[in-house]
Every structure is written in C-alpha cells, then in structure tokens.
C-alpha cells in the first residue's frame, strides 16, 4: 500500500529542525472552503497512508 513518504504532499523534516522526529514529516496541502484558500500542515508518520495519496516522491536529501 502506498505510504505517506511516497506522496507529493509529504515533506521530510530536516534533522536540524527542532521538531524533527525520525519517521515523521509534514503533510502540506492546499485546502479550500467557502471563505478561501489556505495551506495546512499536519504531522504524519512516513509509513501511514490516506485516501488523498498523490504519488510524487520528494527528494529526501532536501
């Protein structure tokens, strides 16, 4: 099954960052509602998955 770390929304958190935690990253998505647009980040585990998966492996070295 596709995992979050293979999704285009998944952004690994560099290990220099305060909230770096092995095996987690930021899931960044554009969201819209009747008031407008916003960009939302939630912490996710690399190996989790969700129904909105979009393939697009991110360069883990960045």
């Amino acid at each position: 099954m596709a995992m979050c770390k293979e999704c285009e929304c998944f952004h690994p958190i560099p290990d220099t960052e305060w909230d770096h935690e092995r095996g987690t990253g930021d899931c960044v998505k554009t969201m819209r509602d009747n008031k407008g647009k916003y960009w939302h980040t939630a912490k996710v585990k690399e190996k989790s998955n969700c129904a909105e998966f979009k393939p697009g492996l991110r360069d883990q070295s960045k």
Binding site: H11, I13, E17, W18, D19, E21, D26, V28, T30, M31, D33, N34, K35, G36, K37, Y38, W39, H40, T41, A42, K43
Partner: protein, 854 residues
C-alpha cells in the same frame, strides 16, 4: 474653528476626496459604504472573507464553526506521558508537545501568521479547566461532530482529578459554591467558567528575543546550582531554590518550544512560496512569493531574536499573544499600550527606514491585517461569558495615547496610523481605549473624534491624569510605571513594560452583580426570581426597616457578596499557581525570571488588585431615592406595600410604579439622589479596600462597569423600587443613568458623575449617546465635542464613551439586518455589530437618550 491644514493632512492620509464643505466624517462614511472597508486590495479581500468568530445569544454566528480536540488530545497525551513531573515542568512539557505536533496553516494573503486552531473555523478546548466548559461544547450538537463526543468525554474523565475545578472546590463550603453558582450575587466560581485575562509583557520579547531570555534562565540555573554546592549546607537558604530550578527549567522548555513552533511557520511559508500555485493572489504570484519568503525569514528570526523593524515586531507580538492567550491557556483581552510598545520599530521602519523599510501606507495596511486577525481569533469560553459578550469574539481592547511621567504627550505618528487603520478597516474588534488629556496634540485628538463619529463606540476615553494618580496613590506604582498604564480589559488600568504586569484575572477582575445588594436587602437575602434559594446575607424583614436600617442592610449585602467573590478569586489564584502554571508567560516577565517564580506569584513589585461591580450598581441609588421619597419623606406608601408591589413585579400596581418612577433619578444633577449614589460608592470603596488580597496591601480597588450584563442579567434581578420590572435591562455602564431617565442634558449627567468619589474608584464606566448630525455631519462637531471633553476632564471624571448612531438606522437594522452588517454600536466595555445583539440588547441601545451638545 477647524484647523484647515490638519484636516487636509488627515484627508490625504485617508485618501479621501471630500467635496468642498463636506465634513470629513461624512466623506469617510460614504466612502466605506461605496468602496467597502480596507485601504488596499489585500485588506479589502481579507475583510470580505474574514472568518468572523463572534457570538450572539451565546451561539457562534457562523455555523461553520466547530470544535476541535487537537489541543486537548495533545495536552492529554503529554500529561499522561509526564504525569510524575512537578506541575510547572509538566505544563511546559504539555506546551512543548503541543507546539511540536499541532497542525499549522497559513491563509491566502495573510501578512501576519500564526493561529492556535487546528484549521480555520475549528476551536480548541481546555480540558484542564474542568468539566463544565468541556461539556458546554461537547453536548452542543451544532458545535461538536458526533465522532468527537466519546473521545471528549474520555478526556473529561481523565482530567477530573487534575483540573482546576477539582482543586478549588475543596476550599469553599458547598453552600457558598451553590450561592455563587446561581450567578445572582456574583459571577459563578471562576474555576467553572475558566475565564481569565492577562497583560503579556511583550516588550521583553521584542527587545531581547527568546534566545537571550533562555540564556538568562540558564545563567540563573547555573548560579543556583553553584550555590547548592557551597559548603557548609544551609537548608533554610537552599530549599527554596529547588522551586526556582523548576520554574527556570520550565521557562526554558517553553521558550525553546515557541522558537521551534515559529520556525515551523518559517518552513511552511517557504514551502508554499517555492512549491505552490499563487497565481490567484490579489497581489500577483510574484509579489506573493516574495512576501511568503519574507514571512519565512521573519518567522525564523522572531521571536527567537530581537525584533529589527515593524514587521518583525508585529509578528513577534502576535506569536507571543497566540502562545500566552490561546495555547498555554485561554486568556481574554488584547492588553497593550500599542503605540508606545511598537514605536521604536515603526520609527526604524517607516520614519528612519533603517530596518525593514516600509512606507506609512504599508504600515497602516499591516495594522489593518492585525485587526482582521483579531476578529478571526476564535475562542472557547464558558456560556456565562459568551452570553454577556454578545457580538464579539472576546474582550479585545488595546490602549493608545497618554502622557509620560513628565506630562509630555506620548502620542506619535504610530498612534495616528493605528487610528487611521481603524477608520479604514471598520471592524468592531479590537476595541480601542484612549488615554485622554487636553495636552495631547490636536491631530491625534481629531482622529480619536473621527473614530467616535463613525459610530464605532471607541476609542473609549479614559482620563489619563486621574488614572495615573490613582495608580500611584492606591497601588503604589512609581510615576514612570503609572504613566504607562494600559487597560487590562474594558476599564481597569494595568502595568505595561518589562515586569510585574498583571498575569491573571484572579489578581484583578471579576466581580459582584451590581444591583443585587439592593434586591437582597429587601428580601432578607432570598432570591425569589431566579434560583429560589438563599443567596445573600440574612439582613432581616425589610418591611420593618427604618431608613438607616435599610442602608445598613444594603451595606451588609455588599460585604457578604464581595467577601465570597474575593474568596473565589484567591482560591482560584492559589490553585492556578499550584496546578495550572503558564511558564511561557512567566518567562516573558523580567521579575519572574529574576526571582525564578511562576507566572501567578503575587508578592510582586507592582500589584494590581481590583474587582468590579457588573452590571453597574447605581440602580440601587435610584431605588433608595425612590424609597426615601415615597416611604420616608412623603409617607404615601409603607415598606410593606412597596414589597408587595415588587413581589407582584409591579403587575396591578402601575400607578404606584409610575409614582416611584417619577421620584428623583440619578444623572440629572439632583443632590437628592446624587448624595445617595455618592454614599453608596464610598461605602463600596470602603468595603472593597477592606479586602487585602495577596500582594495588595492598600486594598482591592473598585471598577463599576457592565459589559452587556445589564441586559443579559436582567432576568436574575427582581423588580426594583425605582420602577424597573423583573427581566428588563438594568443600569448600563458603571455610572450611566438609566436609559431614558437622564432628562437634563449631558452636562447634568457629568455633574452627577462628578459627585461620585472618582479619585477613589479605579474606573467607572459612563455611556453617552451623541447625535450623528453633530458628530459626523457637521464641521462644528470636533470643536463642540472638544469643549465637552474639556468639561469632562476638568471635572476629574474617569471615563466616557459614546454611541453615535441614529435611532432610525437601528430600527431599520432590526427590520432588515442583512442590509446593516456595517452598523457598529457601543455596548459597554466593547463594541458590537448591532445585528448580533438580542432584541432586548438592541432596544436597550435605542433606549439610551441622545444628548445634544453645544
């Protein structure tokens, strides 16, 4: 005569093309109706799509608003994982875990970022406050999605033993808790509604940056650890150091977590700029990308490091506000002396252009963005508080103006820019208080006038000199601290600056129900109207009272009610110090860092103990005057007959009610009743000052005011001798005459108010209503108003605020609310959109007499 040069300057800054002879206020009003609020496309866009988060009738006005359990969940996780920790470090670790793992988001076109909610229109909860507030939300189907209910209940169960309520209840007799819980004599126990306020000492973070404050805490820790190693052992000196170690450790954890959280926004802003489509931005894709990269740079810089310029300062302040007042805990307010606080950064950016250079117009745009961000804040507070705050998110009040300790005008170009932004963006939040003195420059006073003439109901005007003197004499603040006071919430001055600001409402705030002592004195303390139980003191059978016995009974009720209230506050203060510390707030305050004490430590350099009457109590003066006139002077009625009529809510006694209504009324410069009002206020000051709260050796100070409790608590107060029926609004403000009963003009009102012991009162709220024709539609308005303000100031009166609104507009808004969303009115300590008020609230505003000046 209007200063033509000044007017021309203001018109140019507001980009007004007023027709020749057209008053500035009218030109501005027409412009906003035609073009909508906002000085630039961004703020016009943000206004139109603003996620208003205010309530009406206790309910949120937008049905999209729902609760989230993200904060509650993360706090519960961290609490379970660290349950063995000392309480203050446990609180710091809960904050750390939350800031590390919470969702964050940035909305389109935002210039200031940072929010405490999981996503837009989701409001977070605070399970550590106790079950009452949690269930208030969980059991509301319109707010809680069904899938969250069970999890929420589980959290309530977990927190029962750890909550503020659990700790506080043991210190008060059940009978007294029951009395307070009715809300009839005092606000309900603080630990059930979990409402507090604070004055964050932003200056330290803006000037130092968090990294420097962490270093200071670390240095203090090293000193103490070295002391502990000193030979020989000194237990009496060393044991107290352990708590300091805990406090500094917690401060460091909290401060590092906030730096990390802010840098998460930096990362997100950069990601959006580099990876996402911005082509639909109102400023264009290229510009928006540039802005987001700048936001990323700013969020990396602050609050870790000192603010360099105006953009840094606004962002750093906002981050601190979010943490202190939404994340560590919900705290009401937006307290700051904003122009004084931000002037160095505005000067650097706008005037000198040495750091983050920007134009004056760009600074005004940023201030407009700030105002809209406040309107979107979204808070969860107990139903009691939502009911008495209709039409607002929360009591957001910032302060401007004043004189320094040498009597020099402190207003700057930033003061004017803030007022101009307020004129441009037309929001009711945050409200603005202005520290007025005739010594303040004319341009700023003119802008204050223009805001009032737009009908905002603010700035509310506080007498700078009177309040500064009161702070020196009654709180013992030194002059340079006293001069820089800002309102804590609606009415009460508090310390600003780097240290010893007010951190909790349990130090100053809260109060007793103003009309209640009068009601209770006539009923031997029994509430026959709402709770049907004994809530007040036993003061005897009022039908047999002499005049002196009646006064004594009123005084006894004031003592009884206020004593329970002070006990309530101090119990909660004690408990929050033990169990609900705010280590980030403590870290912001120089005194707390120096001493290694928690945020709620009270033996501090500048204490600020005070409490309110709310709603205002001067119905008692009208009651006593009516009784004195008809029962003891004219002897037309007996006390027994009066009590019979009151018991019937005046039904069947209309002629008698009209006679009692015709007795002398406060607000008409009539000594018959004004002397009673003065007696009552002096007696109340004596009673409050008898209460020596922790740190407040001069005694608690008194602030009569009302929020909108004069409407919402009308159902709790029985029929009154002055002619009021049960359920009708009570007196608004703290010293406003009853609606419609001030018949001798505005100067008579001022004269009645001036007889009260203004120098003894920390604040007393006066509402007045002035005609639109004079204020907004006449060139004479400013001069006439200025002359009135001089009289007000010369009489030494504490406060005044103005409604400027037509009765016919309000009636039209009642019929077609969708056409009148822009109509803002002053309620009491805040302003609200007229259409968000209940019918009774609307009628109460309509009922206020419009005074003619000049």
């Amino acid at each position: 005569m209007a200063n033509a040069t000044l007017l021309a300057e203001i018109k140019q800054e507001l980009k007004l093309e007023a027709k020749k002879g057209q008053p500035l206020g009218k030109a501005l009003w027409d412009k906003k109706l035609k073009e909508g609020p906002g000085s630039v496309p961004r703020t016009k866009h943000l206004y139109k799509r603003c996620r208003w988060a205010h309530t009406a009738g206790g309910e949120y006005v937008r049905e999209e608003i729902k609760i989230s359990l993200e904060r509650a969940r993360l706090y519960t996780e961290a609490h379970k994982a660290n349950a063995g920790e000392v309480p203050v470090i446990l609180r710091a670790k809960c904050l750390e875990h939350y800031l590390k793992n919470c969702s964050i988001y940035i909305q389109d076109e935002e210039s200031i970022v940072g929010i405490h909610n999981e996503r837009p229109d989701k409001l977070e909860l605070y399970p550590e406050g106790g079950a009452a507030n949690m269930f208030d939300y969980l059991e509301d189907d319109s707010l809680t999605p069904p899938e969250l209910y069970d999890e929420g209940v589980e959290m309530v169960e977990y927190w029962k033993q750890w909550s503020l309520s659990a700790m506080c209840e043991r210190y008060m007799e059940p009978e007294d808790i029951a009395k307070l819980s009715t809300g009839v004599i005092s606000e309900p126990p603080v630990w059930t509604h979990f409402y507090t306020s604070t004055v964050p000492p932003y200056q330290t973070v803006l000037e130092d940056g968090l990294e420097k404050r962490i270093e200071w805490c670390e240095k203090n820790l090293r000193k103490v650890r070295d002391k502990l190693k000193e030979y020989p052992w000194r237990g009496e000196e060393n044991i107290p150091l352990f708590e300091k170690i805990d406090n500094w450790t917690a401060m460091i954890i909290a401060a590092k977590a906030v730096i990390g959280w802010a840098r998460r926004y930096s990362r997100l802003a950069k990601t959006i700029a580099e990876e996402f489509d911005l082509s639909d931005s109102v400023v264009g894709a290229q510009q928006r990308k540039k802005e987001l990269l700048e936001i990323a740079e700013i969020c990396y810089n602050v609050p870790a490091k000192p603010a360099r310029g105006f953009k840094d300062a606004m962002q750093s302040k906002w981050f601190c506000f979010e943490v202190v007042q939404n994340m560590e805990r919900f705290c009401s307010g937006y307290a700051q002396l904003e122009d004084d606080l931000l002037w160095p950064y505005y000067k650097a950016s706008v005037i000198d252009k040495t750091a983050q250079p920007m134009t004056r117009d760009e600074a005004i745009e940023l201030i407009e963005c700030e105002r809209l961000k406040v309107c979107e804040r979204g808070v969860t507070k107990g139903r009691w508080m939502r009911l008495i705050h209709p039409g607002i998110n929360d009591l957001h009040i910032l302060t401007l103006g004043g004189l320094d300790e040498n009597g020099k005008d402190m207003c700057t170009d930033l003061t004017d820019a803030i007022l101009e932004a307020t004129l441009n963006i037309h929001t009711n939040e945050p409200s603005v208080a202005f520290k007025y003195s005739p010594k303040i420059n004319e341009k700023t006073r003119r802008l204050v006038f223009e805001c009032i003439s737009q009908g905002y109901g603010f700035p509310s005007i506080k007498n700078h000199e009177k309040n500064t003197r009161h702070s020196i004499e009654h709180h013992g603040w030194p002059p340079e601290v006293a001069a820089r006071w800002a309102l804590v919430l609606c009415m009460a001055p508090g310390v600003t600056g780097r240290k010893s600001t007010q951190h909790s409402r349990n130090e100053g705030g809260g109060g007793i129900v103003g009309p209640a002592p009068g009601n209770m004195a006539l009923s031997d303390g029994f509430d026959a109207w709402f709770s049907h139980r004994q809530v007040g003191a036993h003061t005897g059978d009022a039908s047999k009272f002499t005049w002196e016995e009646l006064l004594k009974a009123v005084e006894t009720q004031v003592k009884h009610n206020s004593h329970l209230m002070f006990m309530n506050k101090e119990i909660t203060s004690y408990a929050e110090g033990k169990r609900l510390e705010s280590p980030f707030l403590a870290m912001m305050d120089d005194w707390n860092v120096e001493e290694g004490v928690g945020a709620f430590a009270r033996h501090k350099p500048y204490s600020n103990t005070w409490a309110d009457y709310y709603p205002g109590p001067l119905g008692i003066a009208d009651d006593l005057a009516a009784i004195k006139y008809w029962v003891f002077d004219q002897k037309k009625y007996t006390m027994a007959q009066l009590l019979e009529a009151l018991k019937a809510n005046w039904q069947g006694y209309e002629d008698m009610r009209l006679e009692f209504l015709s007795a002398p009324k406060y607000g008409n410069d009539d000594d018959y009743v004004d002397e009673i009002a003065t007696w009552f206020m002096n007696m109340s000051c004596d009673v409050f000052q008898d209460a020596k709260m922790v740190g407040g050796e001069k005694g608690a100070q008194l602030v009569p005011q009302s929020v909108s409790a004069f409407v919402t608590l009308g159902s709790l107060i029985g029929a009154e001798p002055f002619g009021r029926r049960h359920g009708e609004p009570t007196h608004d403000g703290g010293c406003s005459p009853y609606m419609g009963l001030d018949k001798k003009g505005p100067t008579a009102v001022l004269k009645s108010v001036s007889k009260l012991p203004n120098t003894r009162l920390k604040g007393i709220q006066l509402n007045q209503r002035l005609p639109v024709e004079l204020m907004r539609e006449s060139e004479k308005g400013f001069d006439v108003w200025s002359a009135y303000m001089k009289t007000w100031h010369d009489l030494g009166i504490d406060h005044v605020q103005f409604n400027v609104v037509r009765t016919e507009d309000m009636r039209a808004a009642q019929k077609e609310p969708e056409k009148w969303e822009h109509l803002i009115v002053r309620i009491a300590g805040y302003s609200a959109r007229f259409i968000s008020l209940s019918q009774m609230g609307q009628d109460a505003i309509i009922g206020r007499n419009a005074q003619e000046l000049g």
